[in-house]
């Protein structure tokens, strides 16, 4: 009898406060809204996220380790695969770092071409971001409009270097192909109509009350937090911090053109969206100025110990032939020893290459500081406590690419 009563009491104790269990939900890697292969383990109370744990590594290819077994030129195609949406920016980031290590001065024309290409790649990346971000929030049409413009830019890329996605366009010391006057004209024509297109996207979503309710006040990151978590790029600028590598440590031709760094105020999804929309216009402006100002001249720097000599010299000149042979077979043998960290402003944020050189033709160690990795690590901090629908908007607003995060 006693026993029964005890059992009853225990039973009651277990059942009385009817506890709702938290639901553990795997979001990703095979999920339409996780932009690749991000996996989030969400603990849900109803539709509210109690805990959010990102898991990465589904796209790990060991690019950093692979780099240790390739000479400096052979790494360029690997960098294409980091942020595959903006491969041009990665190429440039890597080449700028290696050039600084080698002490090579890139020619003026090449600097301008790089700036144009980097800004094109920024527009491309932001177009894809806008399309997928809008699609995540349910505005389907924006996605296809963005791809219409992307197509035009990718066609220009194809004419420039023969590839559309994994371009491998830059070389240590310059770029692969020179731009033609016709190509520049076509690009100029594109930049003429592009601001109108940006306005089109804005008319579709910017004045839309559903869009505003889905983005304003969601995923708020304060300026202080954003700096502490190491955010960069538009995600940081959305919180009102006007930090842009292009302004603070100018590379390529960014100091020769006039442009502004757009910033937000509240650090919510909407502000990050506004910042990127403004960057469309600024990038457009930069491209136009570069096309107007581009000087003539060679596209490769003159540094025969590091850079492949032109073909006609190789065929006529013994010294150049030797350089060519050594560079092709062993890589640049006279690389200075030391370590270097050079950051560039990729579309997603600060892309840094940290290279340790031991004087051989291959980097001793290469580490890549990718913005997506940092941004994903901050994701749980500002998405816990929000709703499932909001995390989709948050993921979209920090603009991550898993190829870059997992490397």
């Amino acid at each position: 009898m006693e026993n029964l009563k005890d059992n009853l009491d225990n039973g009651l104790k277990d059942s009385l406060p009817i506890a709702t269990k938290e639901l553990t939900l795997n979001m990703g890697p095979q999920h339409p809204a996780t932009h690749g292969v991000l996996r989030l383990v969400l603990e849900l109370d109803g539709e509210t996220i109690v805990k959010c744990t990102p898991y990465i590594g589904y796209l790990h290819r060991g690019i950093e380790k692979l780099s240790e077994h390739r000479n400096y030129f052979q790494i360029i195609p690997l960098t294409d695969r980091l942020d595959y949406i903006a491969s041009m920016s990665n190429n440039i980031g890597y080449c700028v770092a290696v050039e600084k290590l080698f002490g090579i001065e890139v020619t003026e024309r090449s600097q301008f071409i790089r700036t144009i290409a980097a800004e094109m790649s920024r527009i491309l990346s932001h177009l894809l971001w806008l399309g997928t971000h809008a699609l995540d929030i349910g505005a389907m049409t924006v996605f296809l409009y963005c791809f219409r413009e992307r197509e035009k830019l990718l066609d220009l890329f194809e004419r420039l270097c023969g590839a559309r996605l994994t371009v491998s366009y830059t070389r240590v010391g310059g770029v692969k192909n020179d731009v033609t006057a016709e190509w520049l004209e076509d690009l100029y024509a594109f930049t003429g109509e592009f601001p109108m297109r940006v306005e089109q996207y804005e008319t579709l979503i910017d004045q839309n009350r559903i869009w505003l309710r889905r983005t304003k006040g969601i995923g708020v990151i304060s300026a202080e937090d954003a700096i502490n978590w190491g955010l960069s790029g538009p995600t940081l600028r959305g919180s009102g911090v006007p930090y842009d590598v292009r302004k603070f440590m100018p590379y390529a031709a960014y100091d020769k053109v006039k442009w502004e760094v757009p910033t937000g105020k509240n650090g919510d999804v909407y502000d990050r969206y506004r910042v990127r929309m403004e960057e469309f216009r600024q990038s457009n402006l930069i491209i136009r100025q570069c096309i107007e100002k581009i000087p003539s001249g060679p596209i490769m720097a003159d540094a025969p110990k590091f850079i492949l000599p032109p073909k006609d010299k190789v065929l006529n000149d013994m010294e150049h032939l030797i350089h060519h042979f050594v560079l092709i077979t062993k890589g640049p043998q006279t690389a200075p020893e030391g370590e270097i960290y050079v950051a560039t402003e990729a579309p997603k944020g600060e892309l840094g290459f940290y290279i340790v050189s031991d004087g051989t033709g291959k980097p001793y160690r290469m580490r890549i500081r990718t913005p997506s990795f940092v941004h994903i690590s901050a994701l749980p901090k500002f998405s816990e406590g929000s709703l499932v629908a909001d995390i989709v908007a948050s993921i979209g607003s920090i603009d991550i690419v898993l190829g870059e995060c997992d490397r």
Binding site: L23, L25, H31, P32, A33, E47, A134, L135, D136, I137, G138, A139, M140, T141, L144, Y145, R148, L204, I205, N208, I210, W211, R213, R214, L387, V388, A389, D390, V392
Partner: protein, 328 residues
């Protein structure tokens, strides 16, 4: 009442509706395609006209996967319930003067009751799949459908007050002079939004919000079972548009002068229905998706009060135009 003739009528109406459903899908893909600077289906037949048929045939040949741990009988039956609920609604829709399969005097109630039954198919599918995404989608959907059903039902009360009947044919006859949308604009607005929410279409397509819940309640469904859900969704759009046409846009009534008087009545009805279906697609191509709490808030805090206000105003106006007779 001849059972044979009724049965033939039923079969004809249902098969014509199914054909409509197939081509409404095609219509949607074309309309949205052109709105999004692309062409839509182009490969199967001229301008992709045979696409729906190809899709249908393909679905027959798809494997029917039932996840382990699923509640099998319920899993089997859920899509069938959806299809039955939607197709049975066709019974009371008057296509032209004197033609409806069952001329019920509670037509409005019948439609609303069957749309409630449709919610069962969704929640059962979500529950039986034994998958979290389905489960969340099913819960969301049932909460959404029941919330908007109230607004939907209340918005029709004004119509019933004006026509003095819940028979859909009578409602259309009461609109022979002018459609009710002119004197019930508020109710029409509430109905229009609620019908989109009721059929789980964008921007209220949260139960199947692909960016969050993948495919919502039918995540686990494949092959023909998925096809049935798909069919039910598009047929529901057709039915809801038909109800809106009947209740607010004057049903089969059309302008009766010049060449318009030669246009058959059924054509007026279909033109109005397709205009509303086009409106569905237009909305889908234009608007982002609501968040769940916003959607529920909108339904409970805006549309239900609006519908109640509409009833009050309608009653007041109607009462003031009548001679005041107090009968105790």
């Amino acid at each position: 009442m001849n059972i044979g003739i009724t049965a033939i009528k039923v079969v004809i109406v249902i098969s014509v509706t199914m054909l409509h459903v197939a081509y409404v899908v095609y219509f949607e893909r074309k309309v949205i395609g052109h709105m999004q600077a692309r062409l839509g289906p182009m490969r199967v037949g001229p301008h992709g006209l045979l696409q729906p048929i190809a899709d249908g045939i393909k679905l027959f040949f798809k494997e029917d996967i039932i996840p382990s741990g699923a509640d099998k009988p319920i899993f089997y039956i859920a899509p069938v319930i959806g299809v039955i609920a939607v197709l049975a609604s066709l019974a009371v829709i008057p296509l032209w003067e004197g033609f409806s399969i069952a001329d019920l005097n509670i037509g409005v109630l019948y439609i609303l009751a069957l749309s409630s039954v449709g919610a069962y198919s969704v929640i059962l599918a979500g529950w039986a799949s034994n998958s979290k995404y389905s489960f969340l989608g099913g819960l969301r959907s049932s909460a959404q459908v029941i919330s908007y059903e109230i607004a939907l039902g209340l918005s029709l009360v004004g119509i019933m007050m004006l026509s003095g009947s819940a028979n859909l044919s009578d409602i259309v006859r009461a609109q022979s002079d002018y459609p009710f949308v002119l004197i019930q604009p508020l109710a029409f607005f509430v109905f229009l939004v609620s019908m989109i929410a009721e059929t789980n279409r964008a921007p209220f397509d949260l139960p199947e919000a692909e960016s969050e819940l993948v495919a919502g309640y039918f995540t686990e469904y494949s092959g023909m079972r998925f096809g049935l859900f798909f069919m039910a969704e598009y047929a529901a759009m057709f039915i809801m548009s038909a109800v809106a046409t009947v209740c607010f846009l004057g049903g089969w009534n059309g302008p009766d002068f010049w060449v318009f008087s030669y246009v058959p009545k059924i054509a007026w009805f279909l033109i109005k229905v397709y205009a509303l279906i086009f409106f569905y697609f237009w909305i889908r191509a234009t608007l982002p998706r609501y968040r769940y709490d916003q959607l529920m808030g909108l339904g409970w805090k805006l549309f239900i009060p609006l519908a109640l206000v509409n009833i009050g105003v309608t009653g007041l106006v109607k009462e003031s135009s009548n001679p005041i007779v107090i009968k105790l």
